[in-house]
Amino acid sequence: MTLLVGALTIGLALALLALGVYLAFRVLDFPDITPDGSITLGAAVSAQLVVSGWNPALATCAGFLAGCVAGAVTGLLHTRLAINGLLSGILVMTALYSVNLHVMGRSNIPLLGARTVPDQLAELCAPLVGRSELNVFGWSVPAHDAAVLLGFLGLAVATALVLLWFLRTRRGTALRACGGNAGMMRALGVDVDRQIVLGLALANGLAATAGALLAQYQGFADVQMGIGMVVWGLASVIIGEALVGGASLGSLLAGALMGSVLFRLMVAIALRFGLDPNDLKIVTATFVLLALVAPRWMRSWKAARGARGAG
């Protein structure tokens, strides 16, 4: 049961990453892989500040801002210097590895004993879950764990709601339209380059926040923790789209959130039943590959069957 609660909590922390990936890949239609670096940046900045005695909530906000800067740099490389979008992300991600090492001063910062955001959330949610062990379908769950889970749920839902609100404002709708049809938005008086920079800043700010939360939950920040995270986020987004069937903006954001939790849960179960952790990245990559290719195979298979039926 501890395993399950842990998986759900991490899934909710990474839901912010999924929202960021959704914003970059789906809303802006920009294949941004900066989050592989910015998620670690968020973790590094917040961990360093927490250790040096900052309020963990403020430290997490600082992580968000650091992620925004990283995303903005990717955006500026692409728009001002006309560098291919994918390459801009790779450049920034690579550079961030050194930046992260400098921020942390070493490759790993343990947070054991420090007061973290999960502790703050647990205190906040404690009145809701009581002080003793909880009984969920016959399993006992420590009250602290349940409170943290509840707190992360609140945080993820609140973030999704704020994002939904933003994407429906005048500025947010302009941002969405830039992803769909940049030429039209120029004709309507929007500086598309600025929108791309803004969108990528926001997407990486979300990824960095996910990193900050993850580091504080698992009790350490590590310079390697970002590897493969874009693909992870993409997998969550794809699962989310399958869950909600690609309807309105609100349901797609909710889908990304649920997809992240579900994917983390699936991974936890697979690991529990003997999946070698070393194989985790190849399984994730294969999953995303299949999710991208399967619809095309299905179509051509149906077309072939239709043609046979007609002939």
Binding site: R170, A174, N181, G183, M184, L188, D191
Partner: protein
Amino acid sequence: MLVLTGLRKTFHAGTPNEVRALDGVSLRLADGEFATVIGTNGSGKSTLLNAVAGTFLCDEGRIELDGAQMGRWPEHKRAALVGRVFQNPLGGTAPQMSIAENMALAARRGLSRGLAPALTKALRAEIAERVASLRMNLESRLDTPIGTLSGGQRQALTLLMATWLKPRLLLLDEHTAALDPKSADQIVRITAEIVARDRLTTLMVTHSMQQAAQLGTRILMMHRGRLAHDLSGDERARTRSDDLLARFDALRRRDQMDEGVAAMLRKQHV
């Protein structure tokens, strides 16, 4: 009033693919004037429109609209004064967004876009009213993604979007060319209605002599990056599509004659 002075633009300068697309175009378009621009393929008619819209910057020349020197402005800044409809029906709308959201985007053309909700009740009501004026029964489908509509419907909505805030200049770039004849007629009708109602200063590129003769108060014929003919007033009023075709043939014959003479001279002297 739109004043163009000596616009020149050469693409791929210094390469074998060098194209002199605009070769000194000067033009004065008075307020409320509706000019159609015709010309052969590659004559520079679409280039002229894109030069005014700011898709690229001209090598030489000045662009003045209502006193504003906008020749060096980026495209999105010019959009505050200029409304545009593209040839491609997919070009003027964001496909995954609803009709209402697309209209709301157009309602802020050239204005600041803050954190107020894009769609308010009042704006929705106004959108429904204006969309209803198209008489296409789209007002009941405001929440439909615009990508599911036909080319004609999208082009009509784009026209509405370009003119939602009255533009100082309306640019129409062969905006019926990609449509079936029936939809094209419909768009021509809506164009004429909107331009007349708002007394819009309009520059419309078209490939159709019929449209050129039927619409507008002035006809500009382009050839090889220059204005070859400029018909207005009584002369414009008397012009039929056959007259335009005759002028085209004359231009083409002159070209052929030029080439013929050049070939003859080469033969005799080389």
